[in-house]
């Protein structure tokens, strides 16, 4: 028991050797995870990597074939109710009742968490406000947009003020401004000391939110580290500039080459070059300004998942394009 105590005090989530098989598919193949209290773990992986399976096991929705996990100090297999009391789950697909209103959904969850009628109503009101759903509160969620439904789903998982929260691809399918909103919510949660496990297919998102990143591939953790460590492995950012007028492209290319000291790649009306730090961005902006060149795109980008996977696995097809569900 002594080792469990250590785990309890140090880690909000601790999993060892999680294995899960669905028929022929080995969805998880010995996954280890550790998330210290109050931190964010980003689980990064392509379709079918096993992210959702891991989340469902840690949320007691599925039982692993092998391995063990504790969440908030409780064993997921032996004390599922204690785990459920400590967690909030925002799954990949919104877990809300389509025929109830937004408010009714939140009150229902509050009542099932043993809040009194009045307390459940108060908590629902608070969350509706916090997630900008006050106006839609008394409409059936069937009429909600995808983004609203996701926000309601997240609100529902926060009713009990859980100490650990799982967010399974919280921004997939959201437009960029809604994605920023979701990021703000996650940051707010961590400020309050909540431990977050977040799955995503975007390195950029994991980089923006996570204290540590675990990269999943075919049911295994193939890399783990801080965002900086990971970026050091997979290569830094790429600076991309697209001039408003294509005739300026040669000038832009020359400018980038001089500032960065590397030959940019020119493709379809834009020039891009790998950069070590964001100081290059300022120099490029100043240079463009001095030459009076208008740009339609100026971006500092992280490699996308395909590139990350190519670097980590040497395989070209990170996306198996599996149809889940």
């Amino acid at each position: 028991m002594a080792s469990t105590v250590v785990v309890m005090t140090n880690h909000a989530i601790h999993a060892e050797g999680l294995t899960k098989r669905f028929g022929e598919t080995l969805a998880l193949d010995g996954v280890d995870l550790s998330v210290p209290h109050g931190t964010v773990l980003g689980v990064l992986g392509p379709n079918g990597a096993g992210k959702t399976t891991a989340v469902r096991i840690l949320a007691t929705l599925l039982q692993p074939d092998a391995g063990s996990a504790t969440v908030a100090g409780h064993d997921v297999l032996r004390e599922p109710d204690a785990v459920r009391r400590a967690i909030g789950l925002t799954g990949q697909y919104a877990a809300v009742d389509e025929q109830l209103t937004g408010r009714e959904n939140l009150v229902l969850v509050g009542r099932l968490l043993d809040l009194t009628r009045a307390a459940a109503a108060r908590r629902a009101e608070e969350l509706l406000e916090q997630f900008g759903l006050t106006e839609a509160a008394d409409r059936r969620t069937r009429t909600y947009s995808g983004g609203m439904r996701r926000r309601l789903d997240l609100a529902a998982s926060l009713v009990g003020r859980p100490e650990v929260i799982y967010l399974d691809e919280p921004t997939t399918g959201l437009d960029p401004s809604k994605r920023e909103d979701m990021w703000d919510v996650v940051r707010e949660l961590t400020l309050q000391g909540t431990t977050v496990l977040l799955t995503t297919q975007y390195l950029e998102e994991a980089d923006a939110l996570a204290d540590a990143i675990s990269v999943f591939d075919r049911g295994r953790v193939i890399a783990h580290g801080t965002p900086d460590e990971l970026k050091a492995i997979v290569g830094g950012r790429t600076l991309r500039v697209r001039p408003a007028d294509p005739v300026d492209l040669a000038d832009v290319t020359a400018l980038l080459a001089r500032v960065v000291g590397r030959e940019p790649e020119v493709l379809k009306g834009h020039a891009s070059v790998p950069v070590e730090d964001s100081a290059a961005l300022a120099a490029v902006v100043a240079g463009l300004d001095a030459r009076g060149i208008d740009v339609t795109e100026l971006a500092l980008e992280l490699p996308d998942l395909d590139e990350v996977f190519f670097t980590l696995t040497g395989r070209n097809e990170s996306h198996e394009m599996e149809n889940v569900r």
């Binding site: 949320a59 459920r84 009391r85 909030g88 389509e98 109830l100 009045a118």
Partner: protein, 272 residues
């Protein structure tokens, strides 16, 4: 409980905000509230329980009643308890279909991640069913009264008769739930349920007294629990012996419950 694990103190949440009595039953009751709300949002499902007894009463009383009993009023007095029971029994079929589609809804992932018993939504749904059966029973009786049906016993006795029908239907609804959980296609539960209910209802003393039937059929009618239920309820509504039939009906429904409720809960927990 160790201190490091205690949930963070939360402003606005005090112990007085938490209810602790009988969590198991309370969770089921809260979830029955969800089922009732959904029921009320689909009032069309009350059309059939309203129209069906009305239609059957018209057909049986006005079309056949004269031929069977010599005059329509006598037949109405005879057949009303039967039509009430038939309507309620047929309405037990839908819970199996509804639950098996309900557990595929996204919200069940929410229920699974909450600290409530896995069967709470199931128990909640059966509690809500009681309301539906109650409405069905009252509507059937009211239709009869509108057409001239009169009880000839005490109000307590009438109420007992209605409760008996409700209890029998509630026990039977576990068969429907079990079917809904083990049958692959939810739609086929409807077909199966109706198929089983035809011999149970028409092959009983609901529409005609058993004495008029051929021997082989009498044998079935006499062992059919629905016959005993019908005769007991008839006694409770319009007078006559009750005790023996009521006992047999109560025992049968208890057996149905004892067999099918565990089966249904087990199948449900495996699926939900």
């Amino acid at each position: 409980m160790s201190n490091t694990l205690a949930p963070r103190p939360v402003p606005g949440t005090v112990d007085a905000d938490r209810v602790t009595w009988w969590p198991w039953l309370r969770h089921a009751l809260v979830l029955s509230g969800r089922s009732v709300t959904k029921m009320m949002r689909h009032p069309e499902q009350f059309f059939d329980v309203t129209l069906q007894p009305a239609l059957f009463l018209v057909i049986f009383v006005y079309v056949l009643g004269g031929a069977i009993s010599g005059n329509t009023h006598d037949y109405l007095q005879f057949v009303l308890p039967g039509i009430m029971i038939q309507t309620v029994l047929f309405s037990t079929v839908s819970i199996g279909v509804n639950l098996s589609t309900d557990i595929k809804e996204g919200v069940f992932d929410r229920f699974r991640s909450l600290p409530i018993p896995r069967s709470a939504p199931l128990v909640g749904a059966t509690i809500a069913e009681c309301l539906r059966y109650g409405i069905t029973i009252v509507v059937s009786l009211a239709m009869g009264v509108l057409m001239g049906f009169r009880t000839s016993t005490s109000p307590v006795s009438v109420l007992l008769g209605m409760l008996m029908v409700l209890a029998f239907a509630w026990c039977l609804c576990w068969v429907s739930i079990w079917l809904g959980m083990i049958v692959r296609e939810a739609g086929s539960v409807q077909g199966l349920g109706f198929l089983a209910l035809f011999p149970l209802t028409f092959g009983s003393s609901m529409f005609a007294s058993a004495d008029t039937m051929p021997g082989w059929l009498q044998t079935w009618v006499k062992i059919n629990p629905v016959t005993h239920l019908t005769d007991a309820v008839r006694g409770l509504l319009t007078g006559g012996p009750v005790a023996e039939d009521a006992t047999i009906a109560a025992l049968t429904s208890a057996v149905i419950l004892a067999v099918f409720a565990p089966l249904a809960v087990r199948a449900y927990r495996r699926k939900a």
